[in-house]
């Protein structure tokens, strides 16, 4: 039953189940019915801490050092008791600032430092590589052991296998594919992976059940309970030694591991991910502080029994203690249980790899690549709206690269280390973040440069005392580096740096890295100063709870009056700021102590003062930057805080404003010129109008006076005079009507009764109306009106007015002895065309445009009696233009004149859209 096909099938089914859970979790998250929003799931997801290292490695370590494995779980227990203070604070800060990873957290605390974020990312990736390689090794080895059933033997050394035959490579690729499926199916704005958390919580249950099952079987199935087991163990001198910690070194190691694991539980990227980033409700921390330690307690309960059982069962040492969990059921032919144990180990490894690589890829993407890509202006990334494709690609590539690097490490280091030692190398690396995190949330004075120095120093010591020696051990670099020290200098021995001996490798490295890290972190912080943004971030992080307790008064404890005074002085100048603060003191009758905290009143006052100088929005940001930092506005703040760039911004703004002013001035000048012209035109108009009005008035008045003063005038003459008075009065009336008409039209106040109209009856009616003009005169009228004329959208009365006007003009100006007036109307393309021609003396070219202006008549108005009001053509022009057409004259002196106009047909999309016309009707 237990063969390759079964094992692979069950493994695939199990992984598919995990994926299905993740998928369901994501669905529920999308539907806003979170699957994971309860404290139990939260605590179980934190149990991703228990990897295959716990599952297989604890037993291995117990078999060699007794309780030596235990501090790795007691440390987190102690840390979680502090969790109500420390972890809850980290969770709160992460939520408020939308922290996406541990690199993001540290970078934000120290002034959103790009360098720090990138450094944390690099340290995390390099530091976690051994840990990931450990998982690959565990899966590979456990598969290699299980597949040999019914034999219980260790798999062959993989170094002999070629790359293509190496199971670990396929495991690595499969895990990579799974991590990509789980974590990078889409980009979530909040960086939450609810499905992943659900799957991780599930695998935590599986590995716990699997381990407990093996433990119960071994203790009560193979042996008769704990008493029997330990009784048989105590018979052996060798095994009895494991009952206690025998050496000082053992105790030192105990303490070191406790400290390391206390740090690791928050500083490992995957732990930070599940504890802080994926947390859905801060209150879950309260349950997790005891539930997660309880999980650790349970999963460790049978470690020692299994280790002793293994040592008793395989006394020859041929079986690697790291595989006891698997080999004990196999040796006793519990096939199903062996398979369950394998699945438990697979579960533990898979959960770790998925969460860890997702956390690392988020860091690599958000804190390393994106800032660089965005800074490289050439790529114009910052202008692209949708970056999700690039983000996903970077993350997927990062996952694959990290896993393949882990694979390279396992192939390189091979079998030279036990599981626990490999994992502890990573723990020491993660420990380098702890001073920065804990210091960052407790100590406001820590600076970016202090953090950079501490982390760099600690990381270099880690490389030197742990990573390089592991390469040396595997023969990759010369072993003399370890035995004789660098360049043969004894003080430079990586395992006995500066002559420090008497400690195991991990304790030695922990002591040195922490000394260098914490020393530089505190030392450099004390001699460097914070920029404004660092300071505000520091206060924001350290006082995160105070802010909540202060309710709305968020500025409490954040800025001193001195800070505000400084801020004001920077923008207003020393004198002005002092003067305004003095005024404030006088008016409110209070004294401003520079070191006391700024309250609402003074903050508002300062903001208002600033607003006067730099505008309300900028003032708000500036005051907020002192009072409290908002990550969202960080870019704006950076921009404004950087004084140099700020000057540039302001001078640029000034330039823009002066340019705008210039443009406005130019426009004003133009407008003024146009106004002057209009003014002159108005004057001309008034004088012309009064002239035009005075002429008929004068004749009316003079003839009236004659009639009045000479009652003895002959009747004929009197009648003649009266006739003149009547005619002139009519002319005056017409003139006034025309002026009013024109004025109304120009002001757009005239009412247009526009409708689709057949123009033919209009023209005919106009001709009928003017037929009187031809009576008793030697003038002939010729008409050529086409039978089909296009329908036009016009006001019929107004159109008739135009035609009447043109015909009466033609009658007036045609040859008075043998006059000929010709009226033609036809469809010309998609418009109506009307021509009115006469055979008068015609117009000079210069007059063609002039006659459409007001009171302008061809010829000399001073010497000849005007024949019209001089307003007919301007009115016609207004009317025709209103209908979207045009009117013009074609003429030469002595050859008559032809007045023409056109109006677009209703069926053509002419410039006079009916809708516009219709709007004017109403």
């Amino acid at each position: 039953m237990l063969n390759g096909v079964t094992i692979l099938t069950v493994s695939f089914l199990y992984l598919s189940l995990l994926f299905a859970i993740a998928y369901y979790g994501d669905q529920r998250a999308d539907a806003r019915r979170s699957l994971i929003s309860n404290p139990y799931i939260y605590a179980l997801s934190i149990a991703v801490y228990c990897t295959s290292w716990t599952f297989y490695g604890s037993v291995g370590r117990a078999a060699s050092s007794g309780v030596g494995f235990l501090p790795i779980y007691i440390g987190p227990t102690l840390m979680f008791i502090l969790g109500w203070h420390l972890i809850r604070k980290i969770v709160r800060i992460s939520k408020v600032n939308r922290i996406t990873s541990i690199a993001d957290f540290i970078a934000s605390r120290y002034g959103k430092s790009f360098y720090l974020g990138a450094l944390v990312t690099v340290v995390a990736v390099l530091g976690i590589l051994p840990y990931i390689s450990l998982q690959l090794k565990a899966i590979t080895v456990s598969f290699g052991v299980l597949i040999q059933y019914p034999d219980v033997a260790m798999p062959e050394d993989r170094h002999s296998a070629s790359l293509l035959e190496d199971t670990a490579l396929y495991v690595a690729l499969l895990m990579g594919a799974f991590a990509i499926l789980f974590g990078t199916r889409h980009i979530d704005a909040s960086e939450h992976h609810e499905g992943m958390v659900a799957a991780v919580a599930f695998e935590s249950v599986v590995k716990l059940i699997a381990f407990l099952a093996v433990g119960l079987l071994v203790t009560y199935g193979i042996f008769n309970g704990m008493g029997d087991l330990y009784g048989r163990a105590s018979e052996s001198e060798q095994l009895r030694k494991l009952f206690t910690i025998n050496s000082t070194g053992g105790l030192v190691s105990w303490v070191t591991l406790s400290v390391l694991s206390m740090g690791a539980i928050i500083a490992l990227p995957r732990q930070f991910q599940v504890i802080a980033v994926e947390n859905t409700d801060e209150r879950h921390v309260r349950t997790a502080i005891w539930l997660f330690p309880l999980y650790l307690f349970l999963i460790n309960l049978f470690v020692l029994p299994i280790a002793f059982a293994g040592l008793i069962h395989f006394p020859s040492g041929a079986v690697d203690p790291d595989t006891f969990v698997l080999t004990l059921p196999m040796a006793e032919h519990y096939q199903t249980l062996a398979l369950i144990a394998f699945i438990g180990g697979l579960s533990a490894a898979t959960g770790m790899i998925i969460v860890e690589t997702i956390a690392l890829s988020t860091m690599v993407c958000n804190d390393l690549f994106m800032p660089i890509l965005l800074k490289v202006g050439r790529l114009h990334l910052s202008e692209r709206r949708d970056l999700t494709g690039i983000l996903l690609a970077i993350r997927r590539i990062a996952i694959i690269v990290v896993i393949l690097l882990g694979y390279a490490y396992v192939r390189l280091i091979g079998e030279s280390y036990a599981l626990v030692t490999i994992g502890l190398v990573s723990f020491v690396a993660a420990m380098q973040f702890v001073p920065l995190i804990v210091g960052g949330i407790l100590w406001k004075g820590a600076t970016e440069r202090g953090a950079l120095a501490g982390l760099t120093g600690g990381f270099l010591v880690w490389l030197y005392t742990l990573l390089l020696p592991s390469f040396a051990r595997s023969g990759w670099i010369s072993e003399s580096f370890v035995t004789d020290g660098l360049f043969g200098i004894a003080l430079m021995k990586p395992y006995a740096f500066l002559g420090l001996t008497g400690f195991d490798v991990i304790s030695h490295a922990t002591i040195w890295t922490m000394l260098v890290n914490v020393g530089l972190y505190i030392g450099v912080s004390l001699v460097t100063s914070q920029t404004m943004i660092e300071r505000s971030q520091a206060i924001h992080f350290v006082d995160i709870f105070n802010r909540a307790e202060a309710g709305g008064r968020i500025w409490r404890g954040r800025a001193t009056i001195g800070d505000l005074r400084e801020l004001l002085a920077r923008f207003l100048g020393h004198q002005r700021s002092e003067a305004s603060l003095a005024r404030f003191e006088r008016e409110r009758n209070r004294r401003l102590d520079p070191v006391s905290r700024a309250d609402a009143e003074i903050v508002t006052f300062a903001e208002r003062q600033l607003a006067g100088a730099i505008g309300a929005a900028s003032a708000r940001i500036m005051v907020a930057s002192v009072v409290r930092e908002e990550m969202r506005d960080i870019d704006e703040v950076m921009q404004i805080l950087d004084q140099a760039s700020q000057l540039i911004v302001y001078s640029r703004r000034l330039e823009e404003k002066s340019r705008a002013l210039e443009a406005a001035t130019e426009e004003l000048t133009e407008a003024n010129a146009r106004l002057q012209e209009l003014d002159k035109m108005k004057d001309d108009f008034v004088s012309t109008v009064s002239h035009e009005l005075r002429t008929p008035l004068t004749s009316i008045r003079s003839f009236s006076e004659i009639v009045h003063d000479h009652p003895d005038l002959p009747v004929e003459q009197r009648n003649e005079f009266l006739q003149i008075i009547v005619t002139e009065s009519e002319r005056l009336t017409r003139l006034i009507n025309d002026i009013l008409d024109l004025a109304k039209m120009e002001a757009g106040k005239i009412e247009w009764n526009v409708a689709e109209t057949d123009p033919r009856p209009i023209v005919e009616q106009a001709l009928a109306a003017t037929s009187g003009l031809f009576a008793n005169k030697p003038i002939r009228l010729e008409t050529a009106i086409a039978p089909e004329l296009p329908i036009v959208v016009v006001d019929r009365d107004r159109l008739m007015q135009v035609v009447v006007n043109l015909v009466s003009n033609a009658v007036k100006f045609c040859d008075q002895k043998a006059g000929l007036v010709r009226v033609a109307a036809w469809r010309e393309g998609d418009r109506l065309r009307v021509d009115v021609a006469d055979n008068g003396r015609g117009l000079a070219k210069a007059d063609h445009a002039k006659i459409f202006e007001r009171f302008q008549q061809a010829g000399n108005t001073l010497t000849e009696k005007p024949k019209g009001t001089g307003l007919g053509l301007p009115i016609s022009l207004q009317i025709i233009q209103h209908f979207g057409g045009d009117i013009w004259v074609d003429s030469e002196p002595g050859k008559g004149a032809t007045f023409s106009f056109f109006i677009p047909a209703a069926d053509a999309a002419g410039p006079a859209a009916p809708s516009r016309v219709a709007a004017e009707v109403t």
Binding site: V67, L70, I81, F243, S258, T280, I289, A548
Partner: protein, 91 residues
């Protein structure tokens, strides 16, 4: 720390107790090669002390609950909302 004060202080005390229970000077008392009730004394001590500590923490955390119904009065603990209300408070 006004509302969660007592619970917070109890937890710090338990943390200190944990340090005492699991570090050398005190730990050394039980670091002896005897067997109690069929189980090595040292193992028995470590696991009993561990479990006892967890139970005490659970009692402190869960029974402190009534003091702590709303950890942040007037501010829902969910991240985005608390964020929003903080912003609102500023204006």
């Amino acid at each position: 720390m006004r509302r969660s004060g007592l619970m917070g202080e109890r937890l710090i005390a338990l943390f200190l107790l944990g340090i005492v229970l699991f570090t050398p000077p005190f730990l050394g008392i039980f670091n002896v090669a005897t067997v109690t009730a069929g189980i090595p004394t040292f193992y028995l001590y470590l696991f009993s002390a561990w479990l006892a500590l967890i139970v005490l923490v659970a009692l402190a955390a869960e029974r402190g609950g009534h003091l702590d119904v709303a950890p942040q009065a007037g501010e829902p603990p969910a991240g985005e909302e608390s964020d929003a209300s903080a912003r609102g408070g500023e204006g």
